[in-house]
């Protein structure tokens, strides 16, 4: 058989006895279990929407500690959006996950919130950039992958609709990463108000072409399909977060929030969508989140970058954040001032040296003159001593 024949006719054959190809999934399972995985989740939203509590509730551990008073006061009028990364390693039944949670304090908290989503977007793109660069290195071992797999956007429930800030921010973020909208502090809306709010939010998302994460619905397992449909119908997820255990009226101990008028339970589907969101993030769709990030979002970034840049060229800097520009100006000013100071110092030193040299030269000349004088005296005396000399005086 010639090579061309082999290429043109690829026959599909099922082996009768079974050579063992079907064992690949098991091998893969072993490899993945040993390797573990890397998961990055970002939480974006105004302060006080329950981001920290949600993360701590999700992970059943206090990963993010509440801010101290001094730190909080400093942030109040600070006018910047920070990016804080919290790392944790989770282990469950011999499977471990390296988890990164990215928090964005200061987002939407000020009087002027124009462009406050830029640091968020920059962070996401920078992670893609880092990964891209590392891929292009000769040695690819030990790649640090901080690409964000899911971004939870916390919407404050004002009972009407999305704010312009939410619309602009979600549009920018959703184009670059898996965006999952979440209604924060859902225990402040009555069930009818909540339904209406969800509908309005989805209407705006559609009308404004905001791209949100769409989990795959169809699956081989009937039960999975039903569950998936259930999850999708709950978007945006209304959540309540709590790390405390409280006792309900009928004596159960649950995770929830205790009010004088009742207990709002975190894991009760009648009260909020926490379980569905947890399922989406971890139990059922974690892999899909990771693969969509790599195959869709990262790939899009890679394609656009490679079209315009040569291999190995650094990324051109975009228009910076205004606040960073100001800082840059300040630093530049300080630097020039320092340089000026040093130059002055050197000049003075030079002057001193020149003055010193002149002084020494003068001394030298004086000495020289003295020497000359003495020399001429000696000559005069020796002339007197010589035969054809003049009178000599004693």
């Amino acid at each position: 058989m010639s090579a061309s024949d082999a290429n043109s006719s690829a026959k599909t054959q099922t082996t009768s006895g079974g050579i063992g190809i079907a064992n690949l999934p098991n091998q893969l399972h072993k490899i993945v279990t040993k390797k573990g995985t890397n998961l990055s989740i970002m939480v974006v939203g105004e302060s006080g929407t329950g981001k920290t509590t949600f993360i701590n509730t999700l992970l059943t551990t206090e990963l993010i500690e509440p801010l101290e008073d001094a730190a909080r006061r400093k942030k109040q009028m600070d006018k910047t959006v920070d990016i804080n990364i919290h790392k944790a390693e989770l282990e469950e039944k011999m499977f471990n996950v390296k988890l990164n949670v990215v928090d964005t304090p200061g987002f939407g908290d000020y009087v002027n919130n124009n462009d406050c989503w830029l640091p968020v977007v920059d962070f996401i793109e920078n992670q893609y950039e880092q990964y891209l660069r590392q891929e292009q290195q000769p040695v690819r071992k030990g790649v640090v992958d901080m690409r964000v797999h899911a971004c939870l956007y916390f919407i404050r429930p004002n009972g009407h609709t999305l704010k312009p800030l939410d619309v602009r921010a979600m549009k920018a973020i959703g184009a670059r990463v898996n965006l999952i909208p979440v209604i924060a502090k859902a225990d402040t809306l009555s069930p009818t108000a909540l339904r209406q709010f969800k509908k309005r939010v989805m209407d705006v998302i559609d009308a404004q072409s905001i791209r949100i994460y769409q989990p795959p619905v169809e699956s081989d397992d009937e039960a999975m399909t039903v569950r998936n449909k259930d999850i999708i119908s709950a978007v945006p997820f209304a959540i309540i977060g709590s790390t405390q255990e409280v006792k309900t009226a009928d004596g159960r101990h649950v995770k929830g929030r205790q009010y004088p008028w009742g207990v709002a339970e975190v894991e009760n589907d009648q009260h909020c969508d926490f379980k569905k969101l947890r399922s989406l993030l971890i139990r059922t769709h974690m892999l899909d989140l990771i693969s969509t990030t790599e195959e869709v979002h990262y790939d899009k970034y890679r394609t656009t970058q490679m079209k315009t840049r040569k291999f190995g060229e650094p990324k051109p800097r975009k228009v910076d954040n205004k606040k960073f520009r100001e800082e840059e100006e300040m630093l530049r000013k300080r630097f020039t001032e320092k340089v000026k100071l040093e130059e002055n110092r050197f000049r003075q030193w030079e002057q001193k040296l020149i003055a010193e040299r002149d002084r020494l030269n003068k001394d030298l000349e004086q000495e020289h003159n003295l020497v000359k004088q003495l020399e001429s005296e000696i000559e005069a005396i020796s002339n007197v001593n010589s035969p054809n000399g003049k009178f000599f005086r004693k």
Binding site: E46, Q76, N112, N113, N158, G159, L162, P164, V263, H271
Partner: protein, 330 residues
């Protein structure tokens, strides 16, 4: 059906029974006290429902469904005026409420403060002009804002830049009473911590809130007022529906896990706030606005040379002012 006075301090109701020597109570009995309140706060904190619950009827109807196509554009702030006549324990109050939808809802809200300040100053200016007329209008309606109710977002942490800036800038022109909107999103401990943090911020930034204890002459009232100040900022929850149970009609807000009774002081400060606004402190708020805030404004304005006072300011300025007054009188 007015909710009964809160049982916090029984002497408060007795204060109302004995008329205080304020000119307002006597003169305005027939017409009804003129009382102007402004509601300020970001959308979704319950300003509209607060007013409806306060007046026990739907004064402001629910807004129309927002248009999803324009959700990315912020509506500019506007001033909506509502006239409500209330009868509170025998006193007639002719209340004007000014709502400010659009405050703090845009991307850049730096202009909002100036707009509010201009509005409040405009009301003062109107009175200033009216006072200086040769022939005054007997039916003149005073539009000066007596109380500004500011709705704080229940973040559970502390004040935000918007809150701090607003109180800082407007505190010298109007009585500001801080209120926690949607307070039912906070548990009992969270509410206590939040109130504490807010008051600490207010001390730290020296924010000029309405000082309930401004009148130090009446020592009994002073004691009461100190107790009231411990409740600030007032937690407010607003009414969704009225239930009928064995005790009569109860105003509630219902959740799958329980119902809040709006008028129960153990659950929120609405009843107390209502009592303060419409009953025990209405005269104080009005008097402070007229005797202190307005007078300060007037002094400042006249020092700068706005209305013709002071011959030593130069003939040019006087002529200008005469022109203004002359024009207004025609």
């Amino acid at each position: 059906m007015a909710p009964s006075a809160p049982s916090i301090n029984s002497t408060m109701s007795s204060r109302m029974a004995t008329p205080r020597p304020s000119s307002y109570r006597y003169k305005s009995e027939k017409r009804g006290m003129t009382y102007n309140i402004m509601l300020v706060g970001q959308s979704g904190l319950g300003r509209r429902t607060f007013l409806n619950t306060l007046c026990e009827r739907e004064v402001i109807s629910p807004p129309e469904a927002p248009n999803p196509e324009t959700a990315n554009i912020a509506d500019p702030m506007r001033f909506d005026t509502y006239e409500v006549n209330i009868e509170e324990e025998g006193t007639r109050i002719s209340m004007t409420v000014i709502d400010t939808p659009g405050f703090g809802d845009g991307l850049d809200n730096t202009e909002c403060f100036k707009q509010l300040q201009d509005y409040i100053e405009a009301q003062f200016d109107e009175v200033l002009v009216e006072e200086s007329r040769i022939k005054r209008n007997r039916r003149y309606r005073d539009h000066r804002i007596h109380t500004l109710i500011y709705f704080i977002t229940p973040t559970g942490h502390s004040l935000r830049e918007l809150d701090i800036e607003l109180i800082k800038r407007l505190g010298e022109y109007v009585n500001i009473i801080p209120v926690i909107g949607r307070a039912d999103s906070l548990t009992v401990e969270e509410l206590a911590t939040f109130k504490q943090n807010v008051m600490r911020d207010i001390d730290y930034y020296k924010l000029p809130l309405y000082n309930f204890c401004w009148d130090e002459s009446d020592s009994e009232a002073l004691k009461e007022n100190r107790e009231i100040m411990d409740y600030t900022p007032f937690s407010v929850v607003t009414c969704d529906e009225v239930l009928d149970n064995e005790f009569g009609a109860v105003r509630v807000r219902r959740y799958p896990w329980g119902s809040i009774e709006i008028d129960d002081e153990g659950q929120c400060d609405f009843a107390l706030l209502r009592y303060i606004l419409l009953n025990s402190h209405i005269a104080d708020l009005i008097n402070y606005t007229e005797d202190v805030l307005y007078e300060n404004y007037r002094t400042k304005k006249l020092e700068v040379g706005g209305f013709g006072e002071g011959e030593d300011q130069g003939d040019e300025e006087n002529d200008e002012d005469d022109e203004v007054l002359g024009a207004k009188n025609e």
